[in-house]
């Protein structure tokens, strides 16, 4: 098995080279920049922790952070639940399942295109489709995009609507479960719920784990939604942290501060990721197949 150890390094060699060649420099550079005042035109000047101190004193920083947390903890559970639920249903041999699968994946393909901005406004504007529908039920039009308390949920809904990607990944995981297991369980008379919770779910926990972490990371880094649909408003109620970072780095030419903000976000996401990793041994089963 000693041979195996060295062979392993060979397999990850491309990745290692990639890290050194493409990732290390930008990472380190941005970290160093976070301790500087850098307006991109003149050389950076060292300012120590001043950027980090400025953050704490800026109300917009806190507001953006709070908004981001709300967004993440609403969007991620909803999105994952939908993805798993629909993947589960699509896993059955139903007629026309191909069509449904494609239909559910379509929104994700649209991604962050300009068409989405037009579309979402069409849905949620005061004269939009949603208000028209609820109007039929006698409800007054709601200002989804204009009310600071609701706007963030339109962004959340956009991403939940695009649950296609985690759904596809769940599907791939469900496909990996051998039919023989299901057969055996059914012969034993197990109910569907029993099968799902005692067989299916445990076997796909590595993928649930993956999807959870990835959705969490992506939600914390959500930029496109607010950028193209609400511009951060109204009243900064959809000013997610990545948008704050972007504005500071590229629009206001405060690259030093922007870098500091990024590393702050990095730390936050890291904390949540670590917590999730630490919990891994309690609920994630590997080497699936042995019951």
């Amino acid at each position: 098995m000693k041979l195996k150890k060295h062979v392993g390094i060979l397999y990850i060699l491309p990745w290692l080279i990639g890290i050194i060649a493409f990732t290390a420099f930008p990472f380190i550079a941005s970290f160093v920049l976070s301790f500087t005042d850098y307006n991109l035109i003149s050389s950076p000047s060292f300012v120590g922790l001043s950027n980090y101190r400025t953050m704490m004193d800026t109300p917009l920083f806190w507001k953006s952070l709070r908004t981001t947390f709300i967004y993440v903890f609403v969007t991620v559970p909803l999105k994952l639940s939908f993805a798993l639920f629909i993947a589960y249903i699509l896993n059955f041999k139903l007629k026309g399942v191909n069509f449904f699968r494609t239909a559910y994946y379509l929104p994700s393909i649209l991604g962050g295109s300009v068409a989405i901005a037009v579309l979402w406004r069409f849905l949620f504007a005061d004269t939009g489709l949603i208000n028209m529908i609820i109007g039929n039920f006698g409800v007054d039009p709601i200002s989804w995009l204009g009310n600071p308390r609701y706007a963030i949920f339109t962004i959340s809904l956009l991403r939940v609507w695009q649950f296609g990607s985690p759904m596809v990944i769940f599907l791939a995981a469900l496909k990996n479960i051998p039919e023989s297991l299901y057969e055996a369980a059914r012969i034993d008379g197990a109910s569907k719920t029993h099968i799902f919770f005692k067989i299916t779910l445990p076997l796909i926990t590595p993928i649930v784990f993956f999807n959870f972490i990835m959705q969490l990371v992506q939600a914390f880094q959500e930029f496109n939604g607010p950028y193209i649909i609400t511009g951060g408003g109204p009243l900064n109620s959809t000013y997610l942290f990545p948008l704050y970072i972007y504005d500071n780095s590229f629009k206001y030419f405060r690259m030093g501060y922007g870098s500091a903000l990024s590393w702050f976000l990095f730390a936050i996401i890291m904390v949540f990721t670590l917590i999730t990793f630490k919990s891994e041994k309690y609920w994630v089963h590997y080497d699936g197949g042995d019951e």
Binding site: P14, G146, N147, D247, K251
Partner: protein
């Protein structure tokens, strides 16, 4: 093990091949002695792209030894692109820049090529006041492309429907609001002001009253009391139904006014908009509604207070390898008769007097944009600070008026905020 070695060998070869292919790709350069290639970048929409490409083709005909490589696209992302290029010293030879970028990329005046040192560029075609706006520390950093101003434009059809004359004074606006509500409905407004428009209205009010512009000597020139007065005046406009509240506007989403049903269907009776952009507002209107160019509203004071600024400029990369060729091209673009005809008003009314004359002679100077432009120049206020358009300041203007409009802060707090924040940001910019 042998197979493993094979795989590694293949991978390493791949890596070597790919990096070797990098080779030397120098910035596009001459492949002969006489032949010169210039890179020229701009942003815009369809009309501007087509016109500019045509003008470039014409230039290449007249100067066969100079080839122009066009780099262009939409507005989104363009600032980032130019920024990365400036930082990485890979910017094109000639570039179209936003006016406020000049002060970011060239704080001391050395960020771009000093155009006054290039013989082929005729600076006589520019009024000195305009040229000053693109001159930093005595060095001409860019050629003003056009002067744009904010103009009062009215939906003539809506006013006709209400039976109201086009407003000349602020009092007219208030009177119009009453009639609009009575005859057309509560969702009709004499004028629409978005966040930026509302903030500018404060400045319009105060400059007309005091004769002072917003920023003087890098500080806000108005007192807190004056700002409170202006804010409360704006609020009275909202309450009287002259202009929609921030909240009701917000319901349509973060969308330019010309894309809202309220504008398209004529419920907004007017707007305070750039002369160069008004054509798209006209085109957006449903049916055969017509926009009318309005005079500048009076009634607050005696000082002219129209807002105008250089819209964009053409600059030459200070590290260009072919400054003379670039100068020839630039001069052609801004003053050549045929080029001016081709380019028309795709970049607004030209600031270059030769171009303007050409268009005038051809009768191309007409329409809402031109009418507005004339009025702006007639009513010019004192002029704005170069930092006025800074992105962070702009975000702040929108934010503070939005907070005030939504009732999150009162006039006093808003006025305080304006003074402290603007002073602070301008001080940082001017450092």
């Amino acid at each position: 093990m042998k197979k493993m070695a094979k795989v590694v060998a293949v991978l390493l070869t791949l890596v070597m091949l790919l990096t070797a292919c990098a080779g030397n790709k120098p910035a596009t350069n001459a492949d002969g002695e006489e032949q010169v290639t210039l890179r020229f970048s701009w942003w815009g929409g369809d009309a501007r792209h087509e016109a500019t490409l045509e003008a470039i083709a014409l230039f290449e005909e007249k100067y066969p030894n100079i080839k122009i490589e066009a780099e262009y696209g939409g507005w989104q992302g363009h600032q980032e692109k130019v920024t990365t290029q400036m930082v990485g010293n890979t910017a094109p030879d000639v570039l179209q820049v936003n006016w406020n970028w000049l002060y970011i990329f060239s704080k001391d005046g050395n960020g771009f090529y000093d155009l006054s040192t290039l013989a082929d560029i005729n600076l006589d075609n520019y009024e000195s006041a305009i040229l000053d706006q693109t001159t930093i520390n005595g060095k001409v950093n860019g050629l003003p492309v056009g002067i744009g101003g904010k103009v009062f434009y009215w939906n003539g059809s809506t006013y006709e429907k209400a039976g109201v004359e086009i407003p000349q004074t602020f009092d007219d606006l208030f009177a119009a609001a009453e009639v609009f509500q009575a005859t057309l409905g509560n969702d009709y407004y004499p004028i629409d002001l978005d966040q930026y428009g509302a903030f500018l209205m404060l400045l319009y009010y105060l400059e007309q009253q005091t004769g002072k512009p917003f920023i003087v000597d890098n500080k806000v020139a108005y007192t807190e009391a004056q700002l409170v007065e202006a804010l409360e005046y704006y609020n009275s406009m909202v309450e009287a139904g002259v202009t929609p509240s921030m909240e009701s506007r917000g319901a349509a989403g973060n969308v330019p006014v010309d894309q809202t049903p309220s504008w398209i269907q004529g419920r907004y009776g007017g707007t305070y908009e750039w002369d160069s952009a008004i054509d798209k507002f006209q085109a957006a209107l449903e049916g055969d509604q017509k926009i009318v160019t309005g005079d500048f509203l009076t009634g607050i004071g005696s000082h002219p207070s129209a807002l105008a600024k250089v819209s964009m400029a053409y600059s030459i990369n200070k590290n260009t390898k072919h400054p003379e060729a670039a100068a020839k091209f630039l001069n052609f673009l801004v003053s050549d008769k045929e080029a001016s005809e081709i380019l028309g008003t795709t970049r607004g009314i030209p600031a270059n007097l030769a171009a303007k004359d050409t268009l005038q002679d051809l009768g191309l100077l007409s329409g809402l944009g031109y009418e507005g432009n004339v009025k702006v120049i007639d009513n010019l206020g004192v002029g704005i600070s170069p930092y006025f358009e800074d992105a962070e300041l702009q975000a702040f203007y929108r934010q503070v008026i939005e907070e005030y409009g939504y009732g999150q802060i009162n006039a006093q707090q808003a006025a305080e905020k304006i003074i402290t924040t603007v002073n602070r940001l301008v001080a940082e910019l001017a450092k």
